[in-house]
Amino acid sequence: MPEGPISRVTGTVVPYVRDRVDTDRIIPARFLKETTFEAMAGYAFTDERTDEKGKHPFDQPQYAGAEILVAGSDFGVGSSREHAPHALMRTLGGIKAIVAESYGPIFWPNCVQNGIVVATADRRTINDLAAFVEANPSAEFTLDVRAQLLQHEGGVYTVSVDTAVRQSYLDGSWNTFGQLLENVDAVRAALAGLPPHY
């Protein structure tokens, strides 16, 4: 997991433009019996990779080192399992940024908490980007968080990162644990007057 400010992510891209990919598909529940996130390495998309017999993007050699994932709409809907981003972080070159049309509501905060940059783009941009990557799998991209651009030598794609989340990547405040800990005295004081104390 990265530490501190994240202003850019550089790496090759894996195109996986499928819609409504739920977290059960990213990591089927039977693998959640592992009690460490380290053990998630290698489980990402296990079942569909088996079904697709080597044709799944995550099994194609040209994407083996990819660090940026391009996905479709509603990526990561469903279960709250943080095992899903952890599986992605430990697959291919280690996924460090995702560009999708939209995300599941618990999945994307789980990504932010692990320093994975979550960006959105419209469908056309995503399709164009995927088509380019399929033709040029070794193209190296840089996702510039501040400028909200995904660039490679020959071109640039506009992406979007939620304003507050963007700021938190840039100043390092995406990791909220320390900030929450600073205020535990205030929390403790407030709890004395909160349910089930009436």
């Binding site: 819609d19 409504r20 739920d22 059960d24 598909r25 089927p28 529940a29 039977r30 959640l32 019996k33 592992e34 009690t35 460490t36 996130f37 079942d47 569909e48 709409s73 509603d74 809907v77 469903g78 279960s79 709250s80 399992r81 943080e82 939209s102 599941g104 509501p105 618990i106 905060p109 789980n110 908490q113 692990n114 469908r123 507050a164 989340v165 700021q167 938190s168 100043d171 405040s173 995406w174 909220t176 644990f177 900030q179 929450l180 800990l181 205020n183 535990v184 205030a186 929390v187 403790r188 407030a190 709890l191 909160l194 349910p195 089930p196 009436y198």
Partner: protein
Amino acid sequence: MSEGTLLDKVWERHRIGTLKNGQDQLAIDLHLIHEVTSPQAFAMLRERRLHVLAPDRTVATVDHIVPTVHPSLRPYLDNAAEKMMQALEQGVREFGIKFYSLDSGKQGIVHVIGPELGLTQPGMTIACGDSHTSTHGAFGSVAFGIGTTELAHVLATQSLAQSRPGVRRIEWNGELGPGVYAKDVILATIGELGINGGKGFAYEFAGTAIDGLGMEGRMTICNMTIEGGAKVGYVNPDQTTFDYVRGREFAPTGDQLGRALRYWKSVRSEPDAKYDDVRQFDSSRLAPQVTWGTNPGQVISIDDLIPRPEDFPDSQRAGVTKALAYIGLKGGERIVGTPIDWAFIGACTNSRISDLREAASFVAQGKYHVAKSVTALVVPGSQQVKAQAEMEGLDTIFKEAGFQWRDSGCSMCLGMNPDQVGEYQRCAASSNRNFEGRQGRNSRGHLMSPVMVAAAAVTGQITDARELM
């Protein structure tokens, strides 16, 4: 932004301040944990040498991995499940957390035991490392699922960094017809608004149909809010809520109860509250709902035809084609008559006593028996639900009709314990997710109400239960 809603009031009451990243620090009143998403959080605390800030506000149980046949027989044959169980047992011991173990008599699915024990109360903030935590919103609490890192945040700080959602009011007006239940209301809602239609919203459920439901029906509705893309779903607390909570083990008593009631009434949405969106639906003509695809929004009325890819806009056709291929059905045909292999009554959506009573009474009134081709499971949501059902003789009704009467747990909802649907087999299920592989590799699940599951079990096929009543 909304103003004067329950969400606004409960949020403001629990807001500690604004964090550097712009989010609110929200105090969490009640934290529920289970075996699957907690071991890594305990490890995070150990790594940072932190303790649990308010151990009295975290309650643990075990539900996802427990077998529903001889659950107490240890060590488990599944070594990974045994290790996971031990990780929870070790964690609750080490950090001083109350644990409803299998021998407590009060173990069960985390979203069943919270309300049952009276831990869940109106106006609370409730978090749990499980997306169906929205269930507790039925009591007028703000309850949502969190990831494991956030779970560590709650353990160590009893608070979370959160952004306040907008509020969409969803009204269902009109009396529900016979054979139509809360499950049908929420499936139809998701069908109408989409699986990510609730993005950025909390859902406030209201209207005469919701007012008329008991607490367990309201829990079914709030349970599946997340399937519509909203992390939080709630119903404003009323007399039905107060009557349900009062007298339970952890419910306030005496002077506390008086003060609690005042607070509970004060958090209700104001009559002139402002919403970010309002949607209204007519429940008087609602038919039983059943899913045909691989997400809960792919749902139709039981008497409708399965949609064809060409019924959808261009951008969705490939997805619909894929869903139909996975589920093994053809567009344009009736879903009624689709043969099933498994029937599952259970899960945090529909495993409470009223669910079991309705299903048992359906079976008993027709003197039905489970079809030969079907394996049917009834899995009570908790040990207390099981005991209550047995006191009422519901177990006898089920067993004599050929259903298996199991011990409590998440069971066949998620393919994580021995109860799994075989490859390419079809299951009529009262649970909340029909995702690819959800109930086991290449399993085919159809979501519906418990009575509809019972009807499918006894006929061996997807059936309109109303015709058998």
